[in-house]
């Protein structure tokens, strides 16, 4: 029992780090990924190509490799980033490629007729995108984004590899000090499961809210 009760503070701090890193990374991925997704379906060909290249490269790279590049390779070209910001940046860059694909496929599910109808009703191109296309896209992508939020939260654990003290890193560190650390791992596992459940709940709530009753 000691391994857990003696270190409640450490565990809480680890949990907090995990949550903060997850929130920052997911927000960043959402912003960058949406920009990439819009670029991917835009009328400008160069933007489409660049977004496509980004996704092809980043999505096929392991996130741990991305993190290692930020932590070990960038210093060799004289760019040094702190560990925790590097973790956030790595997760942001990685998951932005997923958000991009989610947005792209979301837009694809909105029929071309919607745009034509909006334009023929006299809406400007901008109005049509913001008022007609975007809301319908959002409704479709809420669920995959919820799944992605869970993936981001779990992926924060790779910070442990480079020494960020989030939940998994904290447990790994404390493990060295106790003969029987099974309980420590059990508590951390429970915390991860609770986090996942909370995210699932939240995603479901948002999904229900934006749903249109048919």
């Amino acid at each position: 029992m000691n391994a857990v009760t003696d270190n409640l503070g450490f565990l809480a701090q680890g949990l907090l780090t995990t949550v903060v890193v997850a929130i920052l990374s997911f927000t960043g991925a959402l912003l960058l990924g949406t920009a990439l997704g819009v670029a991917r379906v835009s009328a400008v060909r160069s933007l489409r190509t660049i977004a496509m290249l980004y996704v092809a490269i980043v999505r096929n790279t392991p996130v741990l490799l991305l993190l290692i590049v930020l932590v070990f390779v960038l210093p060799s070209i004289d760019i040094v980033i702190d560990l925790a910001p590097a973790l956030v940046l790595g997760l942001t860059l990685y998951f932005a490629s997923y958000v991009c694909e989610i947005v792209r496929s979301g837009v694809a599910t909105v029929g071309a007729g919607q745009m034509e109808a909006a334009l023929s009703l006299g809406l400007s191109q901008w109005q049509a995108v913001v008022r007609v296309i975007a809301p319908q896209t959002f409704r479709v992508i809420v669920q995959p984004l919820g799944t992605l939020a869970m993936a981001v939260t779990m992926a924060t654990s790779i910070g442990a590899v480079v020494g960020v003290r989030e939940l998994a890193g904290t447990v790994r560190l404390l493990n060295g000090q106790y003969a029987n650390a099974g309980l420590l791992f059990g508590v951390a596992a429970l915390l991860y499961i609770v986090l996942a459940l909370l995210i699932a709940r939240l995603a479901k709530a948002i999904e229900n809210r934006v749903q249109v009753s048919s």
Partner: protein, 280 residues
């Protein structure tokens, strides 16, 4: 009409061209900045890159690639089989079985793979459960993958019209027979592209073998960097090329299959929408 449109069209075309050129120039400048920075740090010295062409080093990395493929393929097989069983259990009429399978699948997906690897590495031995690094990686990834494949197959089975299993039952097939001969072939066919995406995911996850010194590609890259005396840029550049090449080939296969299989059951739509759900 066409004479009215022509000047407008060409002006629009010219503006689009200008925008395109401007964006490419900005993108080029960005890349040039990165290259310049690397050059200033002395990392572009050919001396640093020539060793990569060495045959022994190539072989060293290629065996790493084989390690990645070996662990990945093993994990995929276990994850697919476990995923199918879990999905079948979730959809079974037995309430208890179905809710137990639901909880198992949720827990599988809620635990970070790295966390499970640490558990197998640090705690499991004290319960007398010792396994070599290969299995530590494979088991951890397969546990997570089983949850992911379970959701995939469940969605696929739900999307299959109910008449299929009803018809199978009315022909006198038992539940497991119907699953094997009627339901699964159709579901697997519809989900094949999504399954390949999930497999790419699993191949990327084998890079976590890095932490248990399982000789996969990323770990080999680290050793190579040390061998090169701190050549992180050079070593990881080649590792990245190999990873991206392997996964692009698989992704290409998925897209090709999707095109080839397009006129199929209603489960197809589910398959393509599932492709885009992210996993770590």
């Amino acid at each position: 009409m066409s004479t009215l449109n022509r000047p407008f069209r060409s002006r629009r075309a010219r503006r689009m061209l200008l925008i395109d050129v401007g964006i490419w120039v900005a993108f080029g400048l960005l890349l040039a900045g990165v290259v310049l920075q690397a050059g200033r740090a002395g990392e572009l010295d050919p001396e640093l890159w020539i060793p990569l062409a060495d045959q022994a080093i190539q072989q060293f990395l290629l065996t790493g690639l084989l390690g990645t493929i070996g662990a990945g393929a093993t994990a995929i097989v276990f994850a697919v089989v476990a995923g199918i069983l879990l999905a079948a259990a979730r959809l079974s009429a037995n309430r208890i079985l179905s809710s137990v399978a639901g909880v198992v699948s949720e827990v599988c997906r809620a635990l970070p793979i790295l966390f499970v690897i640490y558990f197998l590495l640090m705690v499991a031995p004290s319960f007398g459960l010792r396994m070599p690094p290969f299995w530590q990686v494979v088991v951890a990834i397969a546990i997570h993958g089983a949850g992911a494949f379970c959701e995939l197959f469940r969605a696929g089975m739900l999307a299959l019209p109910k008449g299929q299993s009803e018809a199978a039952a009315s022909l006198g097939l038992r539940g497991s027979q119907a699953l094997r001969t009627i339901v699964l072939p159709q579901v697997v066919r519809a989900l094949l592209p999504a399954m390949i995406s999930q497999s790419v995911q699993i191949l990327k996850e084998t890079s976590l073998g890095y932490v248990v010194s399982y000789p996969e590609l990323l770990r080999r890259g680290q050793l190579l960097a040390e061998h090169l005396g701190g050549g992180f840029l050079q070593a990881y550049a080649e590792v990245a090329v190999l990873f991206i090449g392997l996964n692009l080939a698989l992704t290409g296969l998925a897209i090709w299959l999707e095109r080839k299989l397009s006129p199929t059951t209603s489960a197809q739509a589910v398959g393509s929408s599932l492709r885009f759900r992210g996993r770590a």
